[in-house]
C-alpha cells in the first residue's frame, strides 16, 4: 500500500470512528449534565466534601467555586513539586526551582501542560500520578463544566441559576473521564505503553553500552493526557517516546482520544437545547477546519520545503519511523486544533508552512474541535458574534436560540475574543524587545521569531506544545508564560459565565420569519467566515513576520 493511500485511510478511519461516537457519547454527556439523580458514591462524596448536590448556583457563585478550586489546585501542585524530595517514589530528582514549579503548577491546572522541565529528570512517579495526572482529569472537567453552564444559559429562562459546579465536576470525572480512561489505558498497555512503578533500570546493550530503561505509571497518565486534551508528556519526547506511543495503532488511538470528547460535545449542546440540528451545524464548522488543516499540514510536510529538508529528501527530522509523515501531520493538526499540545513529532523541524499552520490552528482559539469544553464555548462565542454580524446586516436585534443578544451579551463576547490576542501579541512583543529573552531562540531569523510567537500563542491558548528549540526554563519565561496561561484560561471563563448568567435571566423570544436560522448551511458558512476573519486576521501581521516570511524566502 502506498504511503498516500495509507495516510488517507487512517484519516478516514478517524472520521468514521468519531462519527460513530458522536451520538452515543454526546447524548451520554447531556444526560449526565442534566440528570437530577445522584449515584450513591456521589452522594457519599458530596457529604464528605460538604456540598448540597441539589442546590444550583448563581453564576458568580459558580465562578467563585471554579476559581477557588483552580487556585487550590495550583497551590497544592506547587507544594507537591517543591516537596517531592521528601515524598515516596521521587527517584532522587533534584528540587525544582520556584519559577519552574510555578510554571508547571499553573500549566497543569489550566489544562495547558506547557512543560519547561523534562519529565525524565525532573519528576518522580508520585508527583506525576497524584499531582499532574489528577489535574489532567479535573482541568478537563472544569472546561466541560463551564460549557455546561453556558448551555444552561440558553436552555433556562428567567432564572439566576446556572448549575452546581461541584456536581458537574464530580459527574464529569467519575462518570465520563474515569471509566473511559481505565478501558483505554489497558488498551495502550496491551500495545506496549508501560505501566509500572520502576525507576531507571540499567542493562548492558549488545553494543557494550549501559542503557537506563525508564519506568513509571505511564499508560494511566497517557490516556487522560489525550482524552482530557491536556498534552503533558510523562517523558520529554512526549507522544514521540516509544514508551508513551508504541505503534502506528496507539498513535491513531491517541489522536482519536484527544478528539472524541470535543467532537461529541456539539451533540450534547444540540440535545440540551432541544434541537439536534444546532449541534450538527456547530460540528460541521469544527469538521471543516479540522479536515482542511490536517490536509494542508500533511501536504506541506510531504513537500518538505526548506533547504535542510530538501537536502535530506523528506521532512523526517523530528519524526518517528513508525509514524511517518502522514500520521505525524494528522497528529500535529489535531493536537493544535484542540488544546492538547501533545506531540508525536517535533513541530520546530516542520516545514515553514506546516509549522506555521500549527501556530495558526492555536490562534483560531482552539475551537475545531478545541479543548474539552473550552472548544465548544469558544465556538459558541463565535456563533454569537456571527449571529450579531448577520443581525447588523439586516438591521434587527439578533437572537440565538431564542435569546436576545443585546449590548451586555456582546460586551462579554467581545471581551472573550480580545483576551487571547492581547496576551499573545503583547507577550511576544515584550519578549522580542528584551535581548536576554531573544537569546532563548535556538534557530535564527524568522524561524527564531516563530519560536517565541509559538510559545506565547501556545501558553495563552492553553495548548502546551512548542517549537521546542527555544530555551524557556528561565525566571522570565517561566513567569511570563505562566501569567499568560492563567489569564488566558480564567479571564475567558469569567466572560462565559457572566454571559451564561445574562442569558439565563431572559424570557425567550419566539422565532419569527425574520429570525436567522442557525442550523442551515448558510450559517455554517457564515460562522466559518467569522472564525477566519475575526480571529485569523488579528494575527496576520505576526504570522507574516514568522512562518510566512520563512516560507516565502
Amino acid at each position: 500500500m502506498s504511503s498516500t493511500l495509507a495516510g488517507w485511510l487512517q484519516a478516514l478511519a478517524l472520521v468514521g470512528a468519531l462519527a460513530l461516537c458522536y451520538r452515543p457519547l454526546g447524548d451520554y454527556i447531556a444526560k449526565l449534565l442534566t440528570s437530577a439523580k445522584h449515584l450513591r458514591v456521589e452522594r457519599g462524596l458530596y457529604k464528605l466534601v460538604g456540598v448540597d448536590g441539589d442546590a444550583d448556583q448563581r453564576w458568580p457563585v459558580y465562578l467563585r467555586s471554579v476559581l477557588a478550586f483552580s487556585a487550590l489546585s495550583i497551590l497544592f501542585l506547587y507544594g507537591l513539586i517543591r516537596l517531592q524530595n521528601h515524598l515516596l517514589l521521587n527517584l532522587g530528582v533534584p528540587v525544582m526551582e520556584p519559577h519552574q514549579a510555578w510554571n508547571t503548577a499553573v500549566s497543569f491546572a489550566t489544562n495547558t501542560n506547557w512543560q519547561s522541565y523534562s519529565g525524565e529528570s525532573a519528576m518522580g512517579h508520585l508527583v506525576q500520578m497524584a499531582g499532574l495526572a489528577v489535574q489532567n482529569f479535573v482541568s478537563a472537567a472544569v472546561g466541560i463544566a463551564i460549557v455546561a453552564a453556558l448551555i444552561r444559559g440558553f436552555t433556562r429562562n428567567r432564572t439566576d441559576r446556572v448549575g452546581n459546579f461541584w456536581v458537574d465536576l464530580t459527574r464529569i470525572c467519575l462518570r465520563l473521564l474515569l471509566p473511559l480512561s481505565i478501558v483505554f489505558a489497558l488498551v495502550l498497555v496491551a500495545n506496549g505503553v508501560v505501566q509500572n512503578f520502576h525507576g531507571f533500570h540499567d542493562i548492558v546493550t549488545l553494543g557494550g553500552d549501559t542503557q537506563s530503561i525508564p519506568g513509571g505509571p505511564v499508560a494511566s497518565q497517557e490516556v487522560i493526557k489525550e482524552l482530557g486534551t491536556n498534552g503533558g508528556g510523562f517523558f520529554n519526547a512526549n507522544s514521540a517516546h516509544p514508551f508513551e506511543n508504541s505503534t502506528g495503532f496507539t498513535n491513531w488511538l491517541e489522536i482519536f482520544l484527544l478528539l472524541v470528547i470535543s467532537f461529541s460535545l456539539p451533540r450534547t449542546f444540540g440535545r440540551m437545547v432541544g434541537d439536534n440540528r444546532q449541534g450538527y451545524a456547530i460540528v460541521a464548522v469544527m469538521g471543516i477546519f479540522w479536515v482542511a488543516s490536517a490536509a494542508l499540514i500533511t501536504f506541506a510536510e510531504s513537500q518538505h520545503s526548506g533547504s535542510a529538508l530538501q537536502a535530506a529528501g523528506a521532512a523526517m527530522e523530528g519524526k518517528e519511523q513508525r509514524f511517518g509523515v502522514a500520521a505525524s501531520g494528522l497528529f500535529a493538526a489535531s493536537t493544535t486544533l484542540t488544546s492538547t499540545g501533545a506531540v508525536n513529532s517535533f513541530h520546530d523541524s516542520f516545514t515553514p508552512f506546516g509549522g506555521g499552520l500549527t501556530i495558526f490552528n492555536m490562534m483560531l482559539g482552539e475551537i475545531a474541535p478545541g479543548g474539552t469544553g473550552s472548544g465548544l464555548y469558544g465556538m459558541l462565542i463565535l456563533a454569537i458574534v456571527a449571529v450579531f454580524v448577520a443581525g447588523l446586516m439586516v438591521g434587527r436585534t439578533p437572537e440565538y436560540l431564542g435569546k436576545k443578544l443585546g449590548g451586555r451579551e456582546m460586551k462579554f463576547a467581545s471581551l472573550y475574543i480580545l483576551t487571547t490576542p492581547a496576551l499573545v501579541l503583547i507577550g511576544t512583543g515584550v519578549a522580542m524587545a528584551l535581548p536576554g529573552e531573544r537569546a532563548g531562540m535556538l534557530n535564527s531569523g524568522p524561524h527564531g521569531f516563530s519560536e517565541v510567537l509559538y510559545a506565547f500563542t501556545s501558553a495563552s491558548n492553553n495548548n502546551g506544545s512548542a517549537f521546542a528549540g527555544i530555551t524557556v526554563n528561565t525566571p522570565w519565561y517561566d513567569t511570563a508564560l505562566g501569567l499568560c496561561m492563567v489569564l488566558g484560561r480564567f479571564l475567558p471563563m469569567v466572560f462565559v459565565l457572566a454571559l451564561a448568567g445574562s442569558l439565563a435571566q431572559q424570557q425567550p423570544v419566539p422565532a419569527t420569519p425574520g429570525t436567522l436560522p442557525t442550523h442551515k448551511p448558510l450559517f455554517v458558512g457564515l460562522l466559518s467566515g467569522v472564525v477566519l476573519i475575526v480571529v485569523g486576521l488579528t494575527y496576520f501581521p505576526a504570522l507574516a513576520l514568522g512562518p510566512i516570511a520563512e516560507g516565502l524566502h
Binding site: A71, L72, F200, P217, A237, A308, R322, G324
Partner: protein
C-alpha cells in the same frame, strides 16, 4: 456559639476537600488499579518489553540503541564514536539513545546546522555502507522525534545488508532473511509506517551460529 465562617473561606475549604478526594480517587486508586491489572494481564509490555539474549537482558524492543566500536581512549570525552560494521546501525539521535533524556534536535527546516548535519551524515553513511551518497535513505539522515526510535526504513536496512554480512562472514541471503523477519508492517495494515526493528534484528544477528 462560634460565628460561622465567611462564604469565601467556606468555598475554599470545600474546594480543598474536593481536591483531596479527587486526588485519592484519580491520583492513587486509579493508577494502582490500572497497574494491578496491567501487571497481571500484560506484564511483559507493562514492564517495558524487555528483550533478553542468552539469559541476559539486552534492552527494550521499543527503545533504540547505539552500536559503536569501543573507544580507542575511554577517558577522552571528545572522541567521536565510530559505528561498528558488525551491527545494523540505527537512525541518528539528538540524545545519543540515552533514555534519561529523550527528545529531538528541534533544528528548523532552513537551519544551517541541520543542513550541515544532513550533508555530513550522507557522506559518512555512504562511505560506511559503500553506496552512492544519492541513494542514502532519509531516515539515515535525520534525527528522530524521541531520540530513541527503534526502527529504520526497509531501504536503510537493505543498504546495510552487504556490509553486515561481510563483517560477520555470513551470506547476504541469511542477513536478508533476518531483515525480512524483523520488518514490521503498518499496524492493521494501514496505520503508521513500516520499518525494521533494529534491536530485534541485531539480537537475532548475535544469535546466528
Amino acid at each position: 456559639m462560634p460565628k460561622p465562617l465567611p462564604t469565601s473561606v467556606r468555598t475554599h475549604f470545600t474546594a480543598l476537600r474536593m481536591l483531596l478526594v479527587m486526588t485519592v480517587i484519580l491520583g492513587i486508586a486509579y493508577p494502582l488499579l490500572v497497574t494491578g491489572i496491567s501487571q497481571v494481564a500484560f506484564s511483559d509490555k507493562a514492564n517495558g518489553s524487555i528483550v533478553s539474549s542468552q539469559g541476559k537482558e539486552i534492552g527494550s524492543s521499543l527503545l533504540g540503541q547505539n552500536y559503536n566500536l569501543p573507544k580507542k581512549n575511554p577517558d577522552d570525552a571528545d572522541e567521536q564514536a565510530q559505528p561498528d560494521p558488525q551491527w545494523f546501525q540505527p537512525r541518528p539521535s539528538a540524545y545519543n539513545y540515552d533514555p534519561k533524556s529523550s527528545g529531538a534536535s528541534n533544528l528548523g527546516p532552513n537551519s544551517e546546522d541541520l543542513l550541515k548535519n544532513v550533508e555530513d551524515r550522507r557522506a559518512a553513511v555512504a562511505a560506511f555502507d559503500g553506496v552512492d551518497p544519492a541513494t542514502v535513505p532519509v531516515d539515515a539522515l535525520t534525527a528522530s522525534g524521541s531520540g530513541l526510535d527503534p526502527h529504520i526504513s526497509v531501504a536503510y536496512a537493505e543498504e546495510q545488508v552487504a556490509r553486515v554480512a561481510k563483517a560477520r562472514n555470513l551470506s547476504a541471503d541469511t542477513v536478508d532473511k533476518l531483515v525480512a523477519k524483523y520488518t514490521e508492517g503498518r499496524s492493521l495494515g494501514f496505520l503508521g509506517q513500516d520499518g525494521v526493528n533494529v534491536v530485534l534484528l541485531n539480537k537475532a544477528l548475535s544469535e546466528q551460529k
